[in-house]
């Protein structure tokens, strides 16, 4: 099986719309939405969940007031400023607690509990494009890297069971922990970029990240006609770095219009279908 990951360095470049078009065009792919903080792929694919699982990860400290001797040791030790003291009462701010266990291990009164946290849910679903593995992290939770790794594993299992040949994943935005986690095992990263200064800047950074982890990449330039000078700059960057340009997509209101109708742009607009069919073939030829 080949694993294709669509990423953009940042949200908003059209990553999910591109993934949606690819999902529509592919006929033997397990789909996976790795943007667990703000997943959007379900808005285009309208999944019907057939499995829901809880995602428990990480711990949170909690002080039992009856056992606390108010020594203040935890306040001094916590490097994440998660312990607060008010009128001699010590409490943990759950938003700031990193779950490092330092206070728990060293509390002289043995007064701090350490509880596993429920951080979100993940699902297996049917969509009109095939099966989808996806998740929703609760707002404000961390450990998205771990959830991404779990989703990839589950998608691989499903792929094996049903004989899918490709895993098509909508990647997480950024270049931090969830993206690094989504890159593991990836055969080809498709960078979606826009002809803007930040588009090029984000592309350079995400490309450097892929180089760092030795993942092969190719580029889709979205809204290329918005600024043709910038598009040329992006293309010369790609040439210089040896990233094939799999295609250019024009700026079109069809993207938003399709989204409002909960459709992929290739389902909605026939000229977009033609554009993307060519791009998808170019992507597959990189494998």
């Amino acid at each position: 099986m080949h694993e294709i990951l669509v990423i953009s360095g940042k949200g908003g470049a059209g990553k999910t719309s591109v993934t949606g078009a690819f999902a529509h065009l592919s006929d033997n792919a397990i789909l996976c939405d790795l943007d667990v903080d703000a997943p959007d792929f379900h808005l285009l694919s309208q999944p019907e969940k057939y499995q829901t699982h809880e995602f428990w990860s990480g711990y949170e400290a909690h002080i039992r007031q009856d056992d606390c001797m108010q020594c203040g040791d935890c306040l001094e030790r916590c490097r994440f400023d998660a312990i607060k003291e008010e009128d001699g009462l010590y409490t943990v701010d759950p938003i700031k607690c990193e779950g490092c266990k330092v206070c728990v291990a060293l509390c002289p009164g043995d007064a701090i509990d350490f509880n596993l946290k429920k951080c979100g849910e993940w699902y297996r679903s049917h969509t009109r494009f095939g099966q989808l593995v996806h998740a929703q992290l609760y707002p404000g939770e961390e450990n998205s890297g771990r959830l991404v790794a779990l989703l990839k594993d589950e998608a691989r299992k499903t792929a094996k069971e049903y004989g899918y040949e490709i895993m098509l994943a909508d990647g997480a935005p950024g270049i931090g922990c969830p993206v690094i986690s989504s890159l593991s095992g990836t055969d080809l990263a498709v960078f979606v970029t826009e002809p803007t200064p930040s588009g090029l800047h984000d592309l350079e950074r995400v490309a450097a990240l892929c180089d760092h982890f030795r993942v092969k990449g190719c580029v889709v330039i979205n809204k290329y006609d918005l600024n043709t000078d910038m598009t040329e700059k992006i293309e010369s960057f790609c040439e210089q770095k040896g990233y094939p340009v799999a295609g250019r997509v024009p700026h079109s209101n069809a993207v938003t219009a399709a989204m409002v109708e909960r459709k992929t742009v290739t389902e909605y607009d026939s000229s977009m279908y033609t554009d993307f069919a060519g791009i998808w073939n170019n992507v597959l030829s990189q494998l």
Binding site: G9, K10, G11, G12, A13, T16, D37, A38, D40, L43, G58, Y59, R77, R79, F80, I95, K96, E98, G99, C100, K101, V102, A105, L106, L137, P139, G140, E141, E142, S144, G145, P173, G174, I175, G176, C177, I180, E194, P195, T196, P197, S198, G199, H201, D202, R205, A208, L209, H212, L226, N227, M230, H251, N253, T256, M259, V260, R262
Partner: protein
């Protein structure tokens, strides 16, 4: 006053709004890019950078001669950043959150503080605007500690100063975004009126509303998409502080790295009104 400009997701125009807000602010202001993974604000404000420093996190360094392989450090570490394989102690610096626990529990003093580079902190000026940003080192997975260093630098610089601070937050609603919003006096949520935009907006609103800070919305690309965002705001009593119309001219200005109120002067009143709403909400 500290204002956090946030959004459920990247690409909604958060940086565009931060840049235009800073450029139209009437009193002394600092613009701070806390999106350390992908800082972009400098591409619009074009600051001259006057100082750059490296930022570090404290991680343990082991002296094998003093280690008795007791395993206390590995047992404590929640992030698998230190492990005992047989009698050999291994550290994985890139996994370390710098909690200092292993050093505190080591009975022999075999562990001491060392450091890992997180990235860099830059500061400078763009006209009258003071500018700060952090930039994560490629391959570094953890942004909150670098964001914290940037925030510390900013807050200590303007502690005894009347300068307002506008934070360009990282996108999303998970730990980095929360870390940016936590210290703000008010939150400006930027969204697009599309189904994607609305879904992400709802998550962000849910995540940030626990702080109970004055919050208002900027609808970017108003006129495209659907009306779900407006209906939700009305239902939850969230004020809409500004609307930036969908306009190819604005998209082109953005693609050229311009501050949109300079390229499209008719937007100036929109940002003056936004500034007023922000100030009123904080002083209310």
């Amino acid at each position: 006053m500290i204002i956090a400009v946030a959004s459920g997701k990247g690409g909604t125009g958060k940086t565009t709004v931060t840049a235009a807000l800073a450029a139209n602010w009437k009193t002394p202001v600092a613009a701070v890019d806390l999106d350390v993974e992908e800082p972009n604000l400098h591409l619009f404000l074009h600051p001259s950078i006057t100082g750059t420093e490296k930022g570090y996190i404290e991680i343990p360094e082991a002296d094998e001669r003093m280690c008795t392989s007791c395993g206390a450090c590995a047992e404590l570490c929640q992030f698998k950043a230190i492990a005992l394989i047989g009698d050999t102690l291994l550290t994985f610096p890139e996994m370390c959150h710098g909690c200092g626990g292993c050093i505190a529990v080591c009975p022999t003093g075999a562990l001491t503080e060392s450091s890992r580079e997180l990235g860099e902190l830059c500061h400078g000026t763009s006209g009258d605007i003071a500018f700060h940003m952090g930039r994560l080192r490629i391959g570094e997975a953890m942004c909150p500690p670098l964001m914290k260093l940037v925030k510390n630098e900013v807050f200590s610089s303007y502690e005894n100063d009347s300068r307002d601070v506008i934070l360009d937050s990282p996108p999303g609603a998970s730990c980095p975004a929360i870390c940016a919003v936590a210290d703000a006096d008010c939150v400006v949520l930027v969204t697009e009126p599309t189904p994607f935009g609305f879904y992400d907006f709802k998550i962000a609103y849910e995540a940030f509303s626990v702080f109970n800070k004055p919050t208002g919305v900027v609808v970017n690309k108003a006129g495209i998409g659907d009306m779900q965002v407006y209906a939700f705001c009305e239902e939850h009593n969230i004020p809409i502080w500004a609307e930036i119309p969908y306009d190819r001219g604005i998209a082109e200005a953005y693609s050229m790295g311009s501050v949109i109120t300079e390229a499209v002067p008719s937007l100036k009143p929109v940002f003056e009104e936004l500034t007023r709403s922000i100030q009123e909400s904080v002083h209310a």
